[in-house]
């Protein structure tokens, strides 16, 4: 059997992904997650002293915390199997990546297992965020000191 023939055979045998249904599922799951996040934002604005601008930070923290608990109980696995990218792209995917790596390597011990692997997937996100925030703040500080812009 030649390579081309084999490729044709494989193509015939593999099931076609139902693109539209997958997109719809991702839309619904991602939309639901974002709606919950918006409700939490409103909750923080209403009952605590946060404005629209400052309420984003506690909202993200709360969402990540909720998803960490869901991942620990195994519920988020079901959600992400159904929703695909809709559950991975929002900030909830970050919490899931941290905790699932920790659970995976639990058997290797607390320090070398969990400690060494907990940020295996999400570590690059944290490093990039901290580093870019540092440099942006540095540039802004210099610009303010020179007098180009004001705080």
């Amino acid at each position: 059997m030649e390579q081309k023939q084999f490729d044709k055979l494989v193509e015939r045998q593999t099931p076609k992904p139902v693109l539209f249904v997958n997109i719809l599922k991702a839309f619904l799951v991602g939309g639901t997650i974002c709606t919950i996040g918006q409700l939490i934002t409103f909750f923080y604005i209403r009952f605590f002293s946060f404005t629209e601008r400052t309420a984003a930070n506690p909202t993200v923290a709360t969402m990540v915390f909720i998803v960490m608990i869901l991942t620990g109980t195994g519920l988020y696995k079901k959600i992400s199997q159904f929703g695909g990218a809709g559950s991975a792209v929002p900030v909830t995917g970050f919490g899931n990546a941290v905790i699932s790596a920790a659970i995976e390597h639990k058997s290797e011990g607390y320090v070398l297992g969990i400690g060494g692997n907990i940020f295996k997937l999400a570590g690059s996100v944290i490093v990039f965020g901290v580093l870019s925030a540092f440099f942006v703040a540095l540039i802004k500080t210099i610009l303010v000191k020179i007098g180009v812009v004001s705080w």
């Binding site: 409103f42 604005i45 946060f50 404005t51 601008r53």
Partner: protein, 130 residues
Amino acid sequence: MKIIKYVLLLFLLLTACSNETDQVMYPSNDLPELKQVLNSNEAVYGFKGIVDKDDVLVSIDIRRMNQFKENKIAKKITKQLEEKYPDKEFLVTNDLKLKWEIEKIMKQELKTEELTKSVEKIKSLLKEET
């Protein structure tokens, strides 16, 4: 089961926000030109405000498509108002927090000292950056 799905989808698609808009100032509207300035701006369809001595806090409702440039609109209105009333200090924003705080103050009908206290608190909140 299928019917339930369709009904849920209908609810998702057909419901919309419908907040009545109003144009009110608290305790009283002694700035007649404020209404004029705000009504002359097409992007603004409602406002709520508080007047406390020299401080004027105005919460504006901006039309959906204009919300991309909400900061610009708020800044422009602040400038226009400061030109009309140079002795007052204006704070114009479309932040939800201000709107809800103003509604709370109106409901409790705060007077003089308490009003000044809560106005100062709101001002420091809106200046917060982090």
